[in-house]
């Protein structure tokens, strides 16, 4: 849908799993959910998180695929593997830094979130983001998301690997990128990171 973007904010997630239930209702993979959901550590806390695919600008899953079965459309959507090509080797499952692709049995095919291609291509919002009661998954215009406490970013650092994505992650307002490595917060490293962004 023109002018709409996908935003993920785990801090809003209440663990209701409405997204999983709704994903199952999507036409192209009815009966199968492509959402990644976790209680972070249920013993310790109630925090939970639900994720869709981030739809990387340069998708690692496609880069590592030996059968050239994973395609990104012009609209930036990274699709499930092409069934005739997929050899079910699980390279993509292992390589994705976000842990998104799933090897489906008994189909023997990698399937993943395609941001409800059947819906977005005809002007409907993706199912998960439409139903999400806490709007931890949101498909809205940027001006709507600007009202939030957190700020969207689509730059991620996984160690040396910088990834930019179609889907945005909500981060604390003072952050420009999401990085998980302690070294990225060290004084001597920050200069390097800044240089990379330039």
């Amino acid at each position: 849908m023109f002018g709409y973007e996908f935003y993920i904010d785990p801090s809003r997630c209440i663990g209701c799993r409405s997204c999983l239930q709704a994903c199952e209702e999507c036409e192209t993979h009815r009966g199968k959910s492509m959402i990644n959901f976790d209680f972070i550590e249920r013993r310790e806390s109630i925090t939970s998180a639900a994720y869709v695919c981030w739809h990387c600008d340069e998708p690692t899953c496609a880069q590592v695929c030996p059968a050239d079965a994973i395609k990104k459309g012009e609209d930036g959507i990274v699709h499930s593997s092409l069934k005739p090509r997929c050899i079910a080797c699980s390279n993509c499952v292992l390589a994705c830094p976000f842990g998104i692709p799933k090897m489906m049995e008994p189909e023997q095919q990698m399937m993943k979130c395609d941001m409800c291609y059947d819906r977005t291509s005809v002007g409907k919002r993706p199912m998960c983001a439409t139903v999400c009661p806490s709007q931890a998954l949101a498909y809205v215009r940027p001006e709507e998301i600007a009202k939030r406490r957190e700020k969207p970013t689509n730059i991620f650092y996984f160690g040396e690997q910088k990834i930019t994505t179609k889907v945005f992650m909500m981060a604390p307002a003072e952050r420009d990128a999401i990085t998980l490595d302690v070294v990225d917060y060290m004084w001597e490293e920050i200069h390097e990171v800044a240089a990379t962004i330039e």
């Binding site: 799993r17 249920r42 939970s48 009661p133 806490s134 709007q135």
Partner: protein, 744 residues
């Protein structure tokens, strides 16, 4: 005679709950056979009443599409809403009337089952008097059905005793709001929530029981609002709380009194508002003087500094909303608890203006609309009092009877079951209520049911309670009959009929009207369809507090809901109450109500040193008659678990997943442990949606709030021990053996 005719297990095999995992025709079918139409209607689960569009094909619901134009939820749905369509076309659906037989239940014709029902009702009433037959209703019924059932009990049966399962929901709040404001409704539409500076949420597991409200709360925080959560458990919304108050179960009143104490001590009250618009402040203020934070902290277990902070945040705010739900209502002092919330709001002037107000979150599907027009034991349509001579005269006139023909107020839901147990009530007609799972002290309920001389059930699935029936009349689902509902906001909405009842099943209202005719009272029930009932309801409610005179299906559809009171066809409805600072009380003022502290009805002691509290999980609804039949929802949370803190678990040698036996003064229950740091170490939580050997309500007690008559589900005394296997309790074994032996 009303014991289960054959063993429970055999009944379960025949009538379920079975799990439905796929839509009619299977997952792939819709792409080949697309829906014929989309029907704009509402979810049947919970008082949020989210708008949803049901996909219909060949008189079956085959899926759903979000309804993004409906203003309350804007397309959002919880997992129950997403999968609600799976109840339609379910293999367990009752398709014919059933009559008890030596082999269980056998299909019967409508004539046979209704004539039998009428003859049994007549025989009992002739032998023991009119009041020997009682009626149970449900808060999942449309407002028209609720109205019809109230009139049916009073005009067709002439019994005093009709009440409904909303008695187990928000009646404490309703009673408190009627005392304070003269009206039983949320004071605000939900659109006010994001405008608040402070949200104080007490006893309300919003994330799981009112999931859509979460988005309103998060938007309030986006706007800079602060969130306070008071609950024995860190419920999902607590993850973003600015202040969390971990109070002991049953001590909400002590917390609220401590907060009021601080507000008055620090001079944070709104003098002008109190003097101009309220009554009864002095007495409440004097009592609050005894409640310094130290005393409040000792009873609640909340640190004094946290109580001070909460009080100051609310007290200094010009826009504070105080949200509350079953946590403080399900107590033997439920009315006092809700009055204490109201008192804090009134003392700080937080009412009738933007982004402020005390607000109950009604929990059941039509919990609001179902309690306004006559299935409550003490109410007539329009929230009129059955004891008020003027109200009796008005409604009797609308109904075409003499006021003295109208029965007086009768027993509440639990009191009806008590009277069945004691033999005072001999016959029961129950619609859309599963008391064996939802009333406290389930063993007592089972004993009571076995004493009934006649038990008729109107329902769409065979509930566990219906196992004890003599006749089970196949009724309708929400989507099978037109009608109004009213959401937690007070917004009247339209449940559009999507499909006809399948097989021989009939619309609920048809069944009630048919029984009335067979009882020889047909002249009072000339209704051909729900629209006829609504026409009479509009007039019957006219001039009452819950005035629906200006509400029609056409208006509701066009305006996407109308907030009552709506006294005329050109009246816009009333989203925000008290904007003019006028209240619905006799003197037009808001009333403070004194709230004296008293202990729970099931106090802890050396033998039962822990608190047991019960509640919901997000994937299940009430007694589970519907949601325990939907595979995807059961997979999400397959069976009840006993939630306990690692510190408590360690003390008893319990680890995650172990079997643990929870024992109260009523019974014991063995469940797997869920060991989490998100619950107080002196408290055990069990969700209540399951039946039989998994039924939390075998453990709860029958103490009622003396005014609202709500049972104290949220506080029982218990003890726990590590168990080796999920063995059945002695009572359940007895129940099973008893059933297999047959009736007396």
């Amino acid at each position: 005679m009303a014991k289960a005719p054959i063993p429970e297990e055999a009944l379960k095999q025949e009538f379920g709950p079975h799990l439905n995992y796929v839509p009619p025709g299977g997952w792939k079918d819709e792409s080949i056979h697309p829906a014929e139409k989309l029907v704009k209607t509402h979810c049947c689960f919970c008082g949020q009443q989210c708008g949803i569009q049901l996909k219909v094909r060949e008189n079956q619901i085959i899926g759903f599409e979000p309804w993004e134009d409906f203003p309350f939820n804007r397309g959002m749905l919880c997992p129950k809403g997403v999968k609600r369509y799976m109840q339609s076309g379910h293999p367990d659906r009752l398709l014919t009337p059933l009559m008890r037989s030596p082999n269980g239940f056998r299909p019967a014709t409508w004539d046979e089952s209704l004539d039998f029902t009428v003859s049994r009702i007549r025989a009992i009433q002739e032998k023991y008097g009119k009041d020997a037959v009682a009626v149970y209703g449900g808060a999942s019924l449309s407002t028209e059905k609720s109205y019809l059932l109230g009139k049916f009990a009073r005009v067709a049966l002439g019994t005093r005793h009709i009440d409904y399962n909303g008695r187990l929901c928000m009646v404490s709040a309703g009673t408190a709001y009627k005392l304070a404001f003269g009206i039983d409704r949320s004071t605000i539409p939900w659109s006010e929530i994001p405008k608040a500076e402070v949200l104080f949420v007490i006893g309300a597991n919003v994330g799981e029981c009112a999931p859509i409200t979460t988005d309103y709360i998060w938007r309030c925080r986006d706007n800079g609002g602060r969130l306070i959560v008071a609950d024995p458990r860190m419920t999902p919304i607590t993850r973003n709380a600015d202040l969390y108050l971990p109070l002991r179960p049953g001590t909400d009143l002590a917390l609220l009194l401590g907060m009021l104490h601080v507000i008055l001590r620090d001079g944070l009250e709104d003098h002008e508002f109190i003097s101009q618009y309220t009554a009864g402040f002095e007495e409440v203020a004097t009592y609050a003087q005894q409640w310094d934070v130290r005393r409040s902290a000792e009873i609640t277990g909340v640190p004094p500094e946290a109580i001070e902070k909460a009080a100051r945040w609310v007290g200094k705010s010009k826009r504070a909303i105080l949200l509350h739900a079953r946590g403080l209502e399900h107590q033997s002092k439920g009315v006092e608890n809700c009055s204490a919330v109201v008192n804090v709001a009134l003392a700080t002037g937080n009412i009738g203006r933007e982004g402020s107000g005390p607000t109950m979150i009604t929990g059941q599907g039509n919990g609001q609309g179902g309690r306004e027009h006559g299935q409550k034991c003490d109410q007539l349509p329009g929230q009129r009092s059955l004891a008020d001579p003027a109200a009796r005269e008005y409604v009797a006139d609308v109904w075409g009877i003499r006021p003295d023909e109208l029965p007086q107020p009768g027993y509440s839901a639990q009191e009806i079951m008590n009277a069945i147990h004691s033999g005072e009530i001999k016959g029961l007609l129950s619609m859309c209520f599963n008391p064996l799972v939802s009333l406290p002290d389930a063993n007592f309920t089972r004993e009571a049911l076995s004493k009934l001389e006649f038990f008729g059930v109107i329902d769409f699935f065979m509930s566990e309670t219906a196992h004890h029936a003599d006749a089970v009349l196949a009724g309708s689902l929400q989507e099978e009959e037109d009608g109004l509902g009213c959401s937690a906001e007070g917004r009247v909405i339209h449940w559009q009929k999507s499909i006809d009842p399948p097989g021989q099943a009939r619309c609920d209202s048809d069944i009630i009207i048919d029984i009335a005719h067979r009882l020889g009272r047909g002249q009072y029930f000339p209704f051909k369809n729900p629209a006829d009932i609504l026409e009479e309801l509009r007039i019957a409610s006219r001039g009452g507090v819950a005035d629906y005179y200006g509400i029609t299906y056409e208006r509701v559809d066009k305006e996407k809901g109308i907030f009552w009171p709506c006294p005329d066809l050109d009246h816009p409805g009333t989203p925000l109450l008290f904007a003019d600072k006028k209240f619905y009380t006799h003197d037009g003022k808001a009333h403070f109500n004194k709230t004296e502290w008293r202990p729970s009805g099931d106090p802890i002691d050396d033998q039962y040193p822990l608190y047991l509290t019960t509640g919901r999980v997000v994937s299940q609804y009430l007694s589970g008659t519907q949601t325990r039949r939907i595979g995807a929802l059961i997979d999400q949370y397959p069976e009840p678990r006993a939630e306990l803190h690692p510190r408590l678990a360690e003390k008893y040698g319990i680890t995650e997943g172990d079997w643990v036996t929870v024992t109260t003064r009523r019974d014991d229950l063995t469940l797997r442990a869920l060991v989490v740091k998100t619950i107080r170490p002196d408290t055990v939580f069990i969700p209540y949606h399951w039946a039989g050997i998994r039924s939390a309500n075998r453990l709860t007690h029958r103490t009622l709030d003396p005014r609202s008559k709500i049972p104290e589900f949220k506080v029982s005394a218990c003890r726990i021990k590590l168990a080796t296997s999920p063995d059945m309790s002695p009572d359940d074994r007895a129940a099973h053996n008893g059933a297999s032996r047959g009736g007396p």
